[in-house]
């Protein structure tokens, strides 16, 4: 196949801690809208938008928060902070647009700015290190993982979750957004503040890492499928 996605080694993602990423698009640090037009909702309308457009996503948001923090208390705090921020900046949300992506972006930024530093996750692999390793020349002689669909089909949910949770958070994130939440690459690019090319390459790498983990699980099960055949 020749019309594959363009390589994007050059388009570096914005650093995870760029300036002022906590706030929704179009809102500056002091809460005043920048470019996005202000929507003058009445209080009643604010609550209506909040209940109708934001609350339906709360289970997805909670799962996302839990998979990021891997801690129930942190997930609770993160979801609460996100929803309070969403309400405070509701005038920068346009009714009928993608509320889920808007909320996920706020949650992701809150996680980076407020939670990541004090995360209980031990020996965290820093995103930059990982991406650098995977961007190096050696890693670019890319490989495919030797694994068969039949070897993973018997894995149970907990094993899949453990494999996913063992990935560095930035790789875990793209898999959650794409495979679990079903966001498009374009939506992911907005949520993560990175170019679409980076979304695709990070996803590709994340999946290779995940397959390595799943292969290890499959191997530790002693290739039981083969024995059964």
């Amino acid at each position: 196949m020749s019309d594959t996605p363009t390589r994007d080694e050059q388009d570096r993602p914005n650093g995870p801690t760029g300036p002022d990423q906590t706030l929704p698009e179009g809102v500056s640090a002091d809460g005043t809208p920048t470019e996005a037009p202000v929507r003058r909702y009445t209080d009643e309308q604010k609550y209506a938008v909040f209940n109708k457009e934001f609350m339906p996503h709360i289970d997805s948001m909670y799962n996302f928060a839990f998979r990021l923090t891997m801690d129930e208390d942190d997930a609770n705090d993160l979801v609460q902070d996100t929803y309070l921020k969403a309400f405070r900046f509701i005038s920068s949300f346009e009714q009928g647009t993608n509320a889920k992506a808007w909320l996920f972006r706020i949650l992701k930024n809150s996680f980076i700015n407020d939670y990541r530093k004090k995360s209980k996750e031990p020996a965290k692999v820093d995103y930059q290190d990982v991406e650098t390793t995977y961007n190096s020349e050696d890693a670019e002689t890319e490989h495919t993982i030797d694994l068969r669909a039949e070897s993973v089909s018997d894995l149970i949910g907990d094993e899949v979750a453990t494999a996913l949770n063992s990935l560095p958070v930035d790789f875990r994130t793209v898999i959650i957004l794409c495979d679990i939440e079903g966001f498009t690459y374009e939506e992911m690019a907005k949520i993560l503040d990175i170019p679409i090319g980076t979304v695709r390459s990070r996803l590709h790498r994340a999946r290779n890492l995940l397959k390595e983990k799943l292969r290890d699980y499959a191997a530790s099960m002693g290739y039981r499928e083969q024995n059964e055949e």
């Binding site: 996605p5 609460q80 929803y83 309070l84 495919t144 669909a149």
Partner: protein, 92 residues
Amino acid sequence: MQTSLPSSSPGSMKEHCDHQVDCLKMIQVILDGQATEQQIERLRNNLHTCQPCIQMYNLEKEIKQLLNGKMEKKCCPEQLIASIKARISQFS
């Protein structure tokens, strides 16, 4: 995407894929529902002729289903929902 896989007809199948990494990337784009018609058509061809592509397609699809179907999905605790609603009601 629903692509019916051919039952392997030995002689015509490629055992080796020369573009495995590129094919894999394309397969992922397609399974993610982000491919063009042209890309899908191309994959359909590969799935009739290339054994490694068939295997990669099945694996990627299986993993996507594992992630989506088998992992526990938690519900947001009721207490948290109540707490959020209580907090925002004090905002105005």
